[in-house]
């Protein structure tokens, strides 16, 4: 069920400002691809173009092609809602729906898209919470509000919510940057398990994290403030961290950047 993403010649704009310029890359199915690079280089913007969330921002506009297997996400007649069901997303800050219980949060994606039988729904909720390694911690209080959980638990709840709709691809925008090391470890273990079933793309500022969880790493950079971000290189994570082919990548990874 995991799908390959093939991006070619993609540029994204905020109004007249070009945020990322002419990016082409391939993301393999059932693998973890990490995006690293300095702040403002367009990693998150690029990630959001992969499930058409970029255009939700006022003035957001995209040029180029994103192929999901053999379908262009930006082709004519493509429904962004259908794209987002296929390509799920986890955000930087945990954002469970405050009016809903833990159960309803996980079931939200399904329930908001149509009606399900109660038994069917509880099966999916249990499976998703187990998938997110949260089931044992919350199984006795599924009816309690999701905002009562700790930050790390909330983030895993958001991951459970995202995988409950059975997407093909999971995009993660710095999912651990608001969490402590132990919760981070839990999420990283989870990413390792999830890549058996999903294609995962993760944006991270933590180089060790990229090295730990990802199979391939892409390095983004921008020439100067106000210039659009560019993809510098994408390669196997081992190679990026040991012997990158571009000098800028080595400078960034070894901390000699700027």
């Amino acid at each position: 069920m995991a799908k390959r993403i093939d991006v070619s010649g993609l540029s994204a704009f905020y109004g007249s400002h070009k945020a990322i310029d002419d990016i082409s890359m391939t993301v393999e199915p059932r693998s973890v691809t990490a995006f690293i690079g300095p702040s403002g280089c367009g990693k998150s913007t690029f990630l959001r173009t992969l499930n058409r969330m970029h255009e939700v921002t006022p003035g957001g506009r995209v040029e180029g092609k994103v192929m999901l297997d053999d379908e262009n996400l930006y082709g004519a007649g493509v429904d962004p809602v259908a794209v987002r069901r296929t390509v799920g997303m986890v955000f930087q800050r945990p954002n469970p729906f405050p009016t809903m219980s833990i159960f309803d949060n996980v079931a939200a994606g399904l329930r908001l898209n149509g009606s399900f039988k109660k038994s069917e729904l509880s099966d999916i909720v249990e499976r998703s919470l187990q998938g997110a390694n949260l089931w044992n911690e919350v199984k006795d209080r599924l009816g309690k509000p999701g905002s009562g959980l700790s930050g790390g638990q909330q983030q895993r709840l958001c991951i459970a919510r995202a995988i409950a709709v059975e997407p093909q691809v999971l995009l993660m925008d710095e999912p651990c940057s608001a969490l402590d090391p132990i919760s981070t470890l839990a999420i990283e273990d989870l990413i390792g398990e999830l890549k058996e079933r999903f294609t995962i793309v993760i944006v991270t500022h933590n180089m060790q994290q990229a090295a730990r969880v990802s199979d391939r790493t892409a390095f983004f950079n921008l020439a100067a403030v106000g210039q659009p971000g560019k993809l510098i290189e994408i390669d196997d994570t081992d190679r990026i961290f040991s012997n990158p082919s571009v000098q800028a990548t080595e400078d960034y990874i070894s901390g000699r950047f700027g």
Partner: protein
Amino acid sequence: MSHTLQDQRPTRARKSAAPASLTRGGLPRWAPAGIAALSIALGSGIGLAFDLHSKIQWGLIASLLFIGITYAASAVVENRRQAKDRVATSLVWVCFVLAVIPLLSLMWTTISRGLKLLNGNFLTHSMNGVTSFDEGGGVYHALLGTIEQIALATLIAAPIGLLTAVYLVEYGKGKLAKAVTFFVDVMTGIPSIVAGLFILTTWNLMLGFGPSGFAGAMALSILMMPVVVRSTEEMLKLVPNELREAALALGVPKWRVILKVVLPTAIGGISTGLMLAVARIAGETAPIMLLVFGSQLINGNPFEGAQSSLPLYIWEQYKVGSDASYDRAWAAALVLIAFVMILNLVARGIARWKAPKTGR
């Protein structure tokens, strides 16, 4: 009022970089209360001594004394900066008391004069066959009219106002949204008599309908709509954008995101705003006078014939000028205040019940 957390460096020690000592003299905790009691006593004493009749003058003298004594005492015992801090605190307290006194006085007057007549008989009878100078009679027809007119006005204004606010926050871009915002602002300033005249010319004179509760409700809904739009708009803006994005990223269509995520998150504030709008129109008299006309009989049908309403009833009874009618007016005023207050409590209950829960 504890001041232990503030910078306690004495101003005299400014020449040397470090203060000689970290402790300083301080007024005792009961000082503000003590100074307040002292200045009230002094204010009353001065009022008596100079034979001032107005109690307002006594109060103003006491307020000024309170602020002055606070500053002086603090400046002597503590330091200048502390004194300024205490003066600011005292000013806030004085303003609070000045704002609360009229409210309490109003409540007290209404309750003490209204309770005299308020009983089951008053609430369940109309003024049918009771002449203005007689005792007896009741407020039932007016209460019924108020409830029906407000319910109809809310039924008209709440959906339109809510949908307008959703449009402005979730969809509105460009010139149309700006124009809508502008006209909502203009509508906020429409005097109620103008709204009444508008309905009178269109509904009654041009279309030829007679006076009815519904005509009044239409005028009230014109007054209510901008208040609903404004308050709902503010509440919807408070919903974090992350929640919208989270729902959109799950592949939920935008209209469902609004219906199932945005509105439930804001429902507490929206219902409070709605109740404030209801309270705003509950006391309107002018459009009711023009359009509902007023009646001494029970008329349960808001679409046909004249009705009464509580504010109109109060005005009518006051105008008569007999002791019996004054009592009726005060009791009706109490009923109106209680009615609005009960609505407010219900709204707060709903808000608390529906608000985002944070407990474990």
